[in-house]
Amino acid sequence: MVDDTSEEPRIQDLVLSLAASPNFAHDGICFAARTSGLYRSDDGGITWRSTYDSLALEAPLATTAVVVSPNFGSDRSVFAGVHGGVLRSVDGGENWNGAILPSPPPLVSVLATSPNFAHDGTLFAGTVEDGVFHSADRGSHWSGWNFGLLDLNVLCMATSPNFANDETLLVGTESGIFRSTNGGRAWRDVNFPTDFAPVLSLVLSPGYADDGVLFAGTESCGLFYSEDRGHTWERLGQDVFTEAVNGIVLSPEFPAQPDILAMLSTALLVSRDGGQSWSDWKAGLPLEQGLASVAAPQGLDPGSPLLVGLVEGGVLRA
């Protein structure tokens, strides 16, 4: 059931990334990165407004990734990936400063913050041709950190929930998965078969430090699961996943509450048993126009709001 589809502004452009305030249940703040710019909603994704007004741009600024600080409630920090740089705002998107990434201008495909961002100020930017860039000063300065990253086409990224201690992050690329255990300074390839790549989505269990569980969604080979930090992999829902798995969301209480959401090109599937069986998130959703991004700011409980970015533009609040 569709609760609402954003109407204002009704922009027919790809919604590449969605990010919600950690306090979404109370403040309803979320951001949508689109080909036409970055948009903010203060009412849980019902209405949207451009956040680039202060920049007085002459042409739309394609925004390819967005991430909010884990401490957004206090630091109001938002980061937006654009061609050749990363924009940062410390007032919830009202005003922006730009940081230029090393030339030639990279295209940012994904942004991620350290879960310990309040203390370490660490951010990562994955790019389409130039690997991973790292900032240790809240996005002011960036440098390329690609030792051992044999594939520089970064499509997705996931940081360990225990990053403060294990300094672990993973990236999915055109040819597989790479892991860093030293905060992105160096990378080693994960034992993920290159035949199953590209890897479009990655997610680590909230208890990754103890259970070593991670999920990887691929373009043409479905969804994969590992419970030993990526040494061995098991394919899930072989008959179900016939399309690209563009996004994966785990319940914040995973594995105690083994809910998994998988976003395919034209479907949203949920498993309530750790990936053994799958069903539609909701019946009757108008998903045929194509899905590009997803966020579950309040978890995956039935009835929790889900934000879905559409290929044709707009954000579905499901």
Binding site: G148, L150, S175
Partner: protein, 544 residues
Amino acid sequence: MTSKQKTPRVVFQPSAYQGLQRGINQMVEAVRPTLGPLPRIVAIERMTRSRTPELLDNGGVIARRIIQLPDRDEDVGAMFVRHMLWRLHDKVGDGTATAAVLFQSVYNQGLRYIVAGGNAMQLRCYLETSLQVILDELTHMAIHLEGKESLAQIAETISHDPPLAKMLGEIFDIIGEYGQLEVRSGRSRELEREYVEGMYWKGGVHSRQMISDHTNLRTEMENVAVLISDIEIEDPRRLIPIVDMAVQAEIRSLLIIASKLSESATSLLLRASQDPTKFKAIAVKAPWMTISDRATALEDLAILTGGRAFAKIAGYTLGGVKLQDLGRARRAWADRSHFGIIGGKGDPRLLRQHITDLRSAFRQSEDPDMRKKLRERIGKLMGGSATLWVGGVAEREIDARKELAQRTSDALRGAIVEGVLPGGGVSLLACRPALQRMLEQSTDPDERAAYRMLIRALEEPVRTILTNAGYDASEVMAEIKQAGPGFGFDVRSGQVADVAQAGIFDVSSVQKAAVHSAVASAALALTIDVLVHPKKPQESVDTA
């Protein structure tokens, strides 16, 4: 030379055994003081006696410095051990003192058994079989390392130099087991490190006029197309179609790798690059000296950039170059001595497969030179390298620390691949119960002798460490035995301790290589029955 001078001298038993044993013991006793964290120094007199003696605590180097003993029977034994130790040093960078004392123990015990009527060939066979039992036990004990702190800890147990160990821990955490590390003399008193992104090769620009940044004497290009070749370009007309093709394809930066570039060809490229905002071409020297090195480097460059290698030896000319033959990279740079590529746009799947193949070849190769070359290739392709600048007050101090850094690096690479073992010889002590069980099951006298010898020999490294540190080995061994498995003696604190908890480790690959070299070589040496000396020995040369 007369026929009399050609007549060899043949030495039979018991003189052969006696001479060999004396030579072996002399060589081992020269290396023995260097075992353990509190080693003693061996002073080697210089060839020119006016210079101060060379002070060494590295068993491999000490063995290499002893190039001949005056007694020729003894010399055979000493050179046998020398060769084993230097090969071991060359392969894993450490473990020579452990191998020496193990070798001596097995050999001396074995000799007594053979003289008393034991079968040398059977004994060799059982020693070699038992060796596998020890290696399997060590493999099971190995703990795998992760993180710069762990790496620094193991580096400290090898180098006993905390600042160097900390620096190497960080470097190897980043570059990994195959990463390229250059150890150079620094200009300050401190240790410094520098990381270089991307891959680089020796071979600078063909002409200084191709350098655009005159401050840093370097030129950089973005979104570059790469012509990969080792062709000598004399006639500039050969380049015209390639430059035209690049310009028509809207390529703005072209890097040409070639063995030689004539002045007229250089002029052509400079003229074509008159407006660098529209088009810029530079040519760098194909740097490789040997045909095989050149072929492998061209192959690596082709896979890295997705281009095609135009090798002169394969009969290629520039006439057949097509647009799709050019490699691509996000960035390239060149100075007067090197060129580098960052973000090669080759197929990452092919690159990963290529590295997997090179790693496999590395693991299978026993040839140190081949392994070194393969490691360098893998390191380059991994996308970065590090330089460690070793500073100091005097040149000799810097050289010694550089050698230590290199040796520690070699051992660290092994530690990353195969992990570490409880140190201080404790892992060797822990192999004895497995041999003891086999001893109890065996009835063959030669087999039982082999087990007994190895059980005794595996104690020898611990005993030597204790003696070198000034402790009564028998007394401390009794304390260790009483403390139980995993416990050893921390000679620095003077306490019996759980060595793993105390952070005392040995590199698994080093320990296994030392045991393998020592036991296999001793087993072979025990089968030597006759010595033959040429009448007039050749001048001794250092063939290690």
